[in-house]
């Protein structure tokens, strides 16, 4: 579904990505793990076309999106839950969800999708008229996910959904990710919390200072000595 080939990117003067290559198959959950500053967010921003790339190719569902304008991607089925949630704080929960479906014109289906989001996240339904900025951290994360789902994505990219959340909420969120995937959405998950990310995903890539240093089935990576020492906190 998504193929990234030899992606290189500069963030200001810093060479953030050095010829990254990876792919995501339909129906998978693929995770990119690595420490802070490894370049994980840069990859997602490059795919979303928010950051300009130096070299490389991004191919989504057979079409090259390397030069596509960013606002067209949700229409192709590619959506992102950004790092730090980035909900529209001065708009209500309901309005945030509406924004997620902005480019869509099929009102009836939009309403059905919205109801499904409310089903999945009952707390959002309770607070649907509240301003998003007044929600708790966990609720905002759910809103950000729900908002991305409103675009009816084929591939959902998520940037560090566990950040700043309590362990209970983190488990809840990862359960939700699994449910979304089982319902048919492919997921590309970028995470610092390597443990949770690898236990929920099918395959993974390990990123270190802009380069992929390990890849494979998530189960295998969990048992990989290098990964265990560096990222899983197991001596």
């Amino acid at each position: 579904m998504l193929i990234v080939k030899d992606l290189s990117l500069y963030f200001g003067a810093i060479h953030a990505l050095h010829g990254i290559s990876f792919h995501v198959e339909e129906g998978e959950i693929v995770t990119l793990i690595g420490a802070n500053g490894a370049g994980k967010t840069s990859i997602l921003c490059a795919i979303s076309r928010i950051l300009p790339i130096k070299t490389g190719d991004i191919i989504f569902n057979g079409n090259s999106i390397t030069n596509t304008a960013p606002h067209l991607l949700p229409q192709y089925g590619l959506s992102q839950v950004p790092e730090g949630r980035r909900v529209f704080a001065r708009m209500s929960v309901k309005e945030n969800l509406e924004m997620g479906a902005f480019f869509r014109k099929d009102t009836a289906q939009i309403r059905r999708d919205r109801d499904r989001v409310y089903e999945q996240f009952p707390r959002l339904k309770e607070r649907r008229h509240q301003l998003a900025g007044t929600l708790s951290g966990g609720e905002q994360q759910m809103l950000a996910i729900g908002r991305a789902l409103m675009s009816s994505p084929k591939l959902l990219m998520m940037d560090e959904p566990s950040m700043g959340l309590s362990p209970i909420l983190v488990s809840e969120i990862f359960e939700i990710i699994k449910t979304i995937n089982e319902a048919g959405t492919t997921v590309l998950l970028v995470e610092q919390n390597a443990n949770m990310a690898l236990s929920v995903s099918h395959r993974g890539y390990v990123l270190e200072t802009g380069k992929i240093i390990a890849e494979g089935k998530s189960q295998d990576l969990l048992n990989n000595e290098l990964v265990k020492k560096a990222y899983l906190g197991i001596a």
Binding site: P74, G84, E98, M99
Partner: protein, 292 residues
């Protein structure tokens, strides 16, 4: 008492015009963080278009005004496209300087075409006024306040209930995330400039009916005052522009009536400074807090 109410009415009259113009400043600032110094000169552009329409093209006043609104809207959109969009990734000071440059360019071009001498605005209202138990309410005042408040009301509805309006709010808040939603950010920004310019053109009509003198520098003074009104109420906030406009107009009129006309400007600027000392983000402004 009637005298005070009359002076208050004067203030509400001029305040509603300031509010209408302030909306353009505040919406543009909200969405692209730019103070469009050329906004006030749209008043001048519209006024001259009406003059040309009526005196040179022989159009009816209504048609001339319509023409002035359409041209102002198109001008605003083109201005954004040509002067401001290319500088979006440059430091903010560049766009600020460009805006000042555009303003000077407009005034000088007008001076070349029309000469710096003031000419009379060719539209007047000669409808008799209302006498409400001693309080004199002119038709011009009534029309101005009703039209301004009505337009502000419509704008509020547009921004809170329509898809495009909500998109404007989203883009104002977080342009990057709005892009991720599939919102065509450039189009929304153009729309913002279009609405702001349209409102300024209508503001020009109301301003010139009250003060029927057209010169290349027409837009400078009301432009600055409207900008101050926007900052006073909270720049970037639509209700702030409305509130700021009325406060400024009333303060100015009352100062002229009861203190001194020479001091009235100083008093108004003084109010602005005091307000900003206590509320740096303006009367309605708040530092946005986001929970992590």
């Amino acid at each position: 008492m009637t005298l005070f109410l009359s002076q208050l009415l004067n203030g509400i009259h001029v305040g509603s015009i300031y509010a209408l113009i302030a909306l353009g400043y505040t919406m543009v600032y909200g969405i692209v963080q730019l103070i469009n110094f050329a906004h006030g000169d749209i008043l001048m552009l519209s006024a001259y278009l009406v003059v040309v329409g009526i005196t040179k093209l022989g159009l009816s006043p209504a048609l001339s005004v319509l023409l002035s609104i359409v041209v102002a809207v198109v001008f605003g959109v083109i201005l954004e496209r040509v002067a401001y969009r290319p500088l979006r990734s440059s430091p903010r000071i560049s766009s600020l300087i460009t805006a000042i440059g555009v303003s000077m360019l407009m005034q000088n071009v007008a001076q070349l075409i029309f000469s710096p001498n003031p000419i009379p605005y060719p539209i007047t209202l000669s409808v008799p006024a209302l006498n409400l138990g001693g309080l004199y309410l002119s038709f011009t005042t009534l029309l101005t306040v009703v039209l301004s408040v009505g337009l502000m009301f419509l704008l509020q509805i547009f921004v809170s209930s329509t898809k495009a309006g909500k998109a404007m709010r989203a883009v104002s808040e977080d342009t990057g995330t709005a892009l991720l939603m599939g919102i065509h950010v450039n189009r929304i920004i153009s729309l913002t400039f279009a609405i702001g310019s349209g409102l300024a053109a209508i503001g020009s009509l109301l301003y010139c009916i009250a003060y029927p003198s057209v010169a290349p520098t027409l837009g400078s003074l009301p432009g600055i005052k409207a900008f101050i009104a926007a900052v006073l109420g909270g720049i970037g906030l639509i209700p702030g522009a409305m509130l700021g406009g009325f406060i400024l107009g009333i303060a100015e009129s009352l100062a002229k009536a009861y203190i001194s006309s020479r001091m009235s400007d100083a008093i108004v600027y003084g109010i602005l400074i005091i307000v900003l000392l206590f509320k740096p983000a303006g009367l309605l402004g708040t530092k946005t807090r986001e929970k992590v």
